[in-house]
């Protein structure tokens, strides 16, 4: 199945609820035809609001415009926008069977029953639910509901697919599986997709581009690699993974901290703080190292361990280690961080 797709453009869209609660600052965003954009951010940052503006469930404050291709759809209600939408808790119709849920949009379009049945069959197959077609919604598991919701949204061949945290209601294992399925499906469909989530792993796996939002504005937009490796702000960096801070000062190609020194690009000159991610550091025997700390505790996580180190900087630092590491609290260890992995945020 391959769908036609269309680019989307938001221009200066803001949203104010009531008289003075501006939950979305004026926002502009272009989404290419066939692109999958993920809106990522903490709860309440305005992701759903943005999605609903695109869907046509909310109207932007005066001045904001929404374009689908060249068409200005700002004033069009959702039922005329030809978007497919998957809601966080699915919003399936409890009074219909699985088939009737999926076929609803086609029935509204007055597609003949024969043709409709055929298309519903195709969709059931697409989402691997062929044998569940005649069940009632209440008989489905969470993951199955999620797939019905997806099939229902796809049935009327939408120009745009909008998904609001479609996996959040599921448990961790299932989420991981469906995330992979979803990735495959979206790539195959090639439809313009806006996907809302607050889970950074989901965002990185699914997004061609990730838009990180906070407090009603876009903080950074870019490919998963860009935002992970070149976060525009500490806030983005923290949201996308764990972050360690080293306080100290730059001198002659090295950054001097409490636990020693480490090679550092010149960009850090003048900064009082540099950062790195736990997985970017490696541990080595203390004797050889220019940077040393003391093990405070070791957390065994199964696939890896997290070692917490004191004495490196004023605050405790966390470093990833192989899960079979045999470090003991109190031990002295050396730390190596490749200079190119340091996160140096000059803007701060």
């Amino acid at each position: 199945m391959k769908l036609n797709s269309i680019p989307i453009r938001l221009e200066g869209c803001a949203k104010t609820y009531g008289s003075n609660a501006r939950v979305l600052q004026p926002t502009s965003l272009s989404i290419g035809a066939g692109e999958t954009v993920v809106l990522l951010g903490p709860s309440g940052c305005g992701k759903t609001t943005t999605l609903r503006l695109i869907a046509g469930l909310e109207r932007p404050d005066p001045g904001g415009r929404v374009y689908f291709g060249d068409e200005d759809v700002t004033a069009k209600p959702i039922e005329e926008r030809r978007v497919g939408m998957v809601f966080q808790n699915y919003a399936l119709f409890p009074n219909f069977s699985v088939r009737d849920n999926i076929g609803y949009g086609l029935k509204i379009k007055k597609m003949p029953a024969r043709e409709r049945a055929q298309r519903v069959d195709e969709l059931l197959e697409l989402v691997h639910l062929t044998e569940h077609g005649d069940k009632q919604i209440s008989q489905l598991s969470g993951g199955q509901k999620q797939r019905v919701a997806l099939a229902r949204a796809l049935a009327p061949e939408p120009r745009v697919l909008l998904l609001d945290e479609p996996l959040t209601a599921l448990d961790a294992k299932l989420r991981e599986t469906l995330r992979t399925d979803m990735d495959l499906l979206l790539k195959n469909l090639g439809v313009t997709t806006v996907y809302v989530t607050h889970d950074q792993a989901e965002a990185m796996v699914l997004g061609d581009r990730v838009v990180v939002m906070s407090n009603g504005r876009i903080e950074q937009a870019g490919t998963p690699h860009e935002i992970y490796f070149n976060p525009g702000s500490r806030h983005v960096a923290q949201f996308l993974g764990s972050l360690n801070s080293l306080r100290g000062a730059y001198r002659d190609g090295e950054f001097h901290v409490q636990g020693g020194r480490l090679a550092c690009p010149e960009r850090a000159a003048g900064l009082a703080e540099i950062h790195f991610r736990p997985e970017d550091a490696s541990l080595l025997p203390a004797a050889d190292a220019a940077l040393r700390g003391t093990v405070a505790s070791v957390q065994f996580l199964g696939d890896r361990s997290r070692v917490y180190l004191d004495g490196l900087s004023e605050t405790r630092v966390c470093v990833e280690a192989p899960s079979r590491s045999t470090l003991q609290p109190g031990e002295q260890v050396g730390v190596h961080i490749p200079p190119e992995r340091l996160l140096i945020m000059e803007g701060e």
């Binding site: 609820y17 009531g18 046509g56 469930l57 909310e58 109207r59 209600p77 959702i78």
Partner: protein, 275 residues
């Protein structure tokens, strides 16, 4: 706030039939009634009524009776309602059905039930006759009315208590017990506070219903001095529409004020819990 899936024109179109019927057959009539009740001199009419010992007395008795009924109903219903939610035993559903059946009995029928119970030929009379050689008859007094109001209030509050108790978070009580609390402490610190909002809400409705109930008093039809009866007497005694209307307005205002007070105490669930 604009709600794009419920456009304003539909909102209006769907509300209008109900609103117009309501306006035509209640709002406007009540407005007219209020005007009539003024009898030309608003202040004077009401001042007369509010200084007439008979009316004030009647109002007091009504309020007092309703308060007593409400208090008694709440105590009894909490005992029975909690008992029925906490224990499983054969025949429980039957008991629940029996307790909630009179939910929609009209006041007149309730009055008759009271006569059946506490009239001269009533069960209580026969039993007391057999036991003490003295016939206990109180259907035609305030006690009879009390019994009647109790009769129609209990099902409502029992239902509320049961619904509220069922939705109680059991783990809170368990938490209290894990901290060493016995049954009474759990009751005092967990169950009753959790039930309080719905009790206040349904108690207010019970109180309001008792204040305005007419059928029961009418059936017992004796000189019970509750306000609805007074209104009725005023109306039938020389068609004193002005006084009847004014008393109705006063009764309405008192009832409404009490519901409002209760709502402020209990939170927004009040009206929804009624019925």
């Amino acid at each position: 706030m604009r709600d794009l899936t419920l456009p304003a024109q539909w909102r209006l179109a769907l509300l209008l039939p109900a609103l117009s019927l309501f306006a035509a057959f209640w709002l406007i009539p009540i407005a007219v009634l209020v005007r009539i009740s003024a009898g030309g001199h608003f202040l004077a009419t009401y001042a007369d009524i509010l200084t007439d010992a008979r009316y004030v007395n009647s109002l007091w008795q009504t309020v007092l009776l309703s308060l007593l009924v409400t208090a008694a109903t709440i105590v009894l219903s909490v005992i029975a309602g909690l008992f029925l939610t906490e224990h499983e035993f054969p025949g429980k559903r039957l008991l629940v059905s029996l307790l909630t059946l009179p939910l929609a009995f009209p006041g007149v029928v309730v009055g008759f039930m009271v006569i059946m119970l506490a009239g001269r030929q009533g069960l209580i009379g026969s039993i007391s006759q057999a036991l003490f050689g003295h016939k206990l008859v109180f259907a035609y007094s305030m006690s009879g009315l009390f019994l009647g109001y109790l009769y129609f209030s209990i099902p409502k509050i029992v239902l509320t208590v049961m619904a509220a108790a069922q939705s109680l978070d059991k783990s809170v009580a368990e938490a209290a017990r894990s901290l060493g609390a016995g049954s009474w402490a759990v009751m005092r610190d967990v169950t009753l506070p959790a039930l309080a909002p719905s009790l206040i809400a349904s108690g207010a409705i019970c109180f309001a219903t008792s204040i305005g109930a007419f059928g029961t008093a009418f059936t017992l039809a004796t000189d019970i001095n509750v306000l609805p009866m007074t209104i009725y007497t005023e109306f039938t005694l020389n068609a004193n529409l002005v006084t009847a209307a004014a008393l109705s307005v006063i009764l309405g205002v008192v009832t409404w004020a009490i519901l409002m007070l209760a709502r402020n105490a209990a939170g927004p669930a009040t009206m929804a819990a009624g019925g």
